[in-house]
């Protein structure tokens, strides 16, 4: 059996450490979900006139210090706004409405504005639509790889491909867990990109090996 080079050993060790650390962080602290996917509170205000999100952001920064806030325009006329945060207290709601009334000359009343509870999005609901497409693509690509690189050994090619695809994704998730990058709208894009780049890496590696095998045979 071919021995691993020192460089490969070091890379493998670093990957193993990152994955172990990622698993520990995930099991102990958990993943950091984006506010969009967390259980949150939301208020919706009808201003009846156009406004700048930046101006509202300044107000929420003042009132909801150190709280993550998402501000969105509502409806096509963009004259209503939605404010989402981990928590919105009655006091915060009242202060915000006061500031908005002051700036925009509106007559909003805190009593008529309800603080809605937004339930969290389950991780499995985020992943579910991707499972089948990934499974189909992986199976078809695996079949192609096994046929194209059969001369490198079917079992070896199979396990190396599977291992590379799994390790790259686990590594990505571990990095996300360790660095506390929020699980949000970028996560699945990152997963897709890493998947594609891994496929590219696998193909480059196998082509190189196939070339050198062909060279040896000649």
């Amino acid at each position: 059996m071919k021995k691993m080079s020192t460089k490969t050993k070091i890379v493998a060790l670093i990957i193993a450490i990152i994955i172990i650390a990622g698993v520990i962080v995930t099991l102990t602290v958990g993943l950091n979900f984006d506010l969009r996917y967390q259980s949150a509170k939301r208020i919706e205000l009808y201003l009846g006139k156009q406004f700048e999100i930046e101006d509202i952001k300044k107000m929420t920064d003042d009132i909801m210090q150190n709280q993550e806030v998402i501000i969105q325009k509502v409806e096509v006329y963009e004259d209503s706004l939605s404010i989402l945060s981990n928590d919105i207290t009655e006091e915060q709601k009242s202060s915000l409405i006061e500031k908005i009334n002051e700036k925009y000359g509106t007559d909003l009343s805190a009593d008529s504005i309800e603080i809605e509870t937004i339930p969290h999005t389950r991780g499995r609901d985020i992943i579910k639509p991707y499972i089948m497409p990934f499974a189909i693509v992986t199976i078809i690509i695996l079949i192609y790889i096994l046929i194209r690189y059969r001369r490198l050994g079917i079992m070896v090619t199979f396990f190396k491909t599977i291992l590379a695809l799994i390790v790259s994704q686990v590594l990505l998730l571990s990095i996300i867990a360790i660095t506390r990058i929020p699980i949000g709208i970028l996560t699945m894009s990152m997963v897709l990109t890493v998947y594609v780049l891994t496929l590219l890496g696998i193909a480059y590696n196998f082509e190189k090996k196939l070339d050198s095998k062909n060279g040896e045979e000649k």
Binding site: V74, P133, M190
Partner: protein, 465 residues
């Protein structure tokens, strides 16, 4: 001559880049309008419809007779008339207390997800508030969204009842599948197209349907028609007795009251939706209606009755500034990569750098012209194809043989091509967006580089002869 050719190609690249990044503005109705179409965005970038369903606290009013049977058509009776006739008015909640539990809320959420999937909604998020059963739906905004939202709180309760006694003869548990379709009911195609709802019953349902259609038979007044009837016993029966009819109900709303010409033994019931028409818009409306009813009835009824509490379009929180910032970061990385190329390959590197910018511009124009829906995944897809194009042009510069560079490159990206093609057909916008971008990006890499990059390098090397 070589210089003129190179300058011409570079000017063409600059023109394409200008069009791609700034557009083509022409005066239209006293204002300048960009003739280059805008990007189509998915719900994560363009905004989404947000719908909140609340567990219904409403009650329904029923009027019952002395025997406890529901009295039909009693809505217009006054309280005095009700009392006079000995009827009793009852207020019953749509959702009894035993219905309002976590298990039923979860089933309701699952069924709404199934409906979204069946109705072809290609991007949605469904959240359940386990405390109170509220369901929040975020779905993509398109021409079908209104139709879907209007049916979203339909529980899908299906019943065939005896019109007189209100006895339930069939219900959701008897249904196997519900599909919609359309066609010409007769050879006379000029009469127009008829939209249908086809209900196929399961084994037990088929048996019930046969019994019902044998019992609830149309009363024949024309004696001559009897000659064609094989079952004379039944015919005599219908003539001697009062015609019995059934009423079909969806969510307790009466859809139709009818009787049958002959027993249905196939276990399939075809209902006409609307009237025959040749008007495309009307036909589309009927098709949509039939399709939404089929979606609602296909998976049984939702155990909890929901009220539509909130329905609004919310713009994405990824705003113009975020997109601009992303654009500048991406352009910065591309610029840096091109500088490396220029340093490495000098004047050939400069030409390829121009060509690369032209590729990016062409790609963005293609995505707009082909109406590719851009999601965040699609943006990452653009990043990936830019990496791929960089690898190819680098290879072209390195081996100085475009044929070999192409062969080496495309053999290696076959798995990615497979992925791109498969993802194009996935009915989930973030994935299809990524797939479409990959597909157009790779197709453009193949075509663009052989035409532009290759020409530039050939002219530069003086091989154009």
């Amino acid at each position: 001559m070589r210089k003129i050719k190179i300058v011409t190609i570079i000017l063409a690249i600059i023109a394409i880049t200008m069009i791609s990044f700034f557009g083509i503005y022409v005066p239209e109705q006293n204002r300048m309008k960009n003739k280059v179409g805008d990007y189509a965005y998915a719900m994560d970038m363009g905004g989404s419809r947000k719908v909140r369903l609340k567990v219904s606290t409403q009650t329904k009013e029923t009027i019952k007779d002395a025997d406890g049977k529901i009295v039909k058509d009693a809505d217009e009776l006054t309280d005095e008339q009700i009392a006079e006739k000995g009827y009793v008015k009852e207020e019953t909640p749509y959702n009894s207390d035993d219905v309002k539990n976590l298990e039923n809320y979860r089933i309701s959420k699952k069924m709404i997800e199934k409906r979204l999937k069946k109705s072809g909604t290609d991007n949605y998020i469904v959240k359940l508030d386990e405390e109170n059963g509220d369901i929040l739906i975020e779905l993509t905004e398109n021409k079908d969204t209104d139709m879907f939202v209007s049916n979203i709180n339909t529980t899908g309760k299906y019943e065939i009842v005896d019109s007189e006694t209100q006895e339930v003869l069939m219900n959701n548990s008897d249904i196997k599948t519900v599909t919609s379709g359309y066609g010409h009911p007769s050879e006379n195609t000029e009469a127009g197209v008829q939209v249908y709802l086809d209900i196929e019953f399961n084994k037990e349902g088929a048996k019930k349907l046969e019994d019902i259609t044998s019992k609830y038979v149309e009363k024949h007044h024309d004696d001559s028609s009897e000659e064609d009837t094989t079952d004379t016993e039944d015919t005599t029966d219908t003539e001697d007795t009062e015609e019995k009819t059934i009423t079909m109900k969806i969510d307790d709303d009466e859809i139709m009251t009818t009787s049958f010409e002959e027993p249905i033994k196939t276990g399939k019931l075809r209902l006409s939706i609307g009237t025959q028409t040749n008007d495309a818009d009307v036909l589309q409306e009927y098709i949509n209606r039939a399709s939404s009813v089929s979606v609602v009835l296909s998976d049984g009824k939702i155990p909890v009755k929901y009220d539509l509490y909130e329905d609004e379009f919310v713009l994405s929180d990824i705003n113009h500034n975020d997109i601009q910032m992303g654009k500048y970061i991406a352009l910065g990385i591309v610029g840096l990569a091109l500088i490396i190329l220029i340093i490495k390959y000098k004047s050939r590197g400069i030409l390829v750098a121009f060509s690369y910018v032209g590729y990016l511009s062409m790609l963005l124009l293609t995505l707009r012209c082909t109406n590719v829906i851009l999601s965040v995944e699609g943006l990452f897809g653009i990043g990936v194809v830019l990496i791929l194009n960089y690898m190819l042009v680098n290879q072209i510069l390195k081996v100085e043989n475009i044929g070999k560079a192409y062969k080496d490159f495309f053999v290696k990206i076959i798995p990615i091509i497979i992925l791109g093609i498969i993802f194009c057909f996935i009915k989930w916008t973030p994935i299809s967006s990524f797939g479409m971008v990959m597909f157009w990006g790779i197709a453009l890499i193949a075509i663009y580089n052989i035409i532009i990059t290759n020409s530039l390098l050939k002219i530069k090397a003086g091989k154009e002869k």
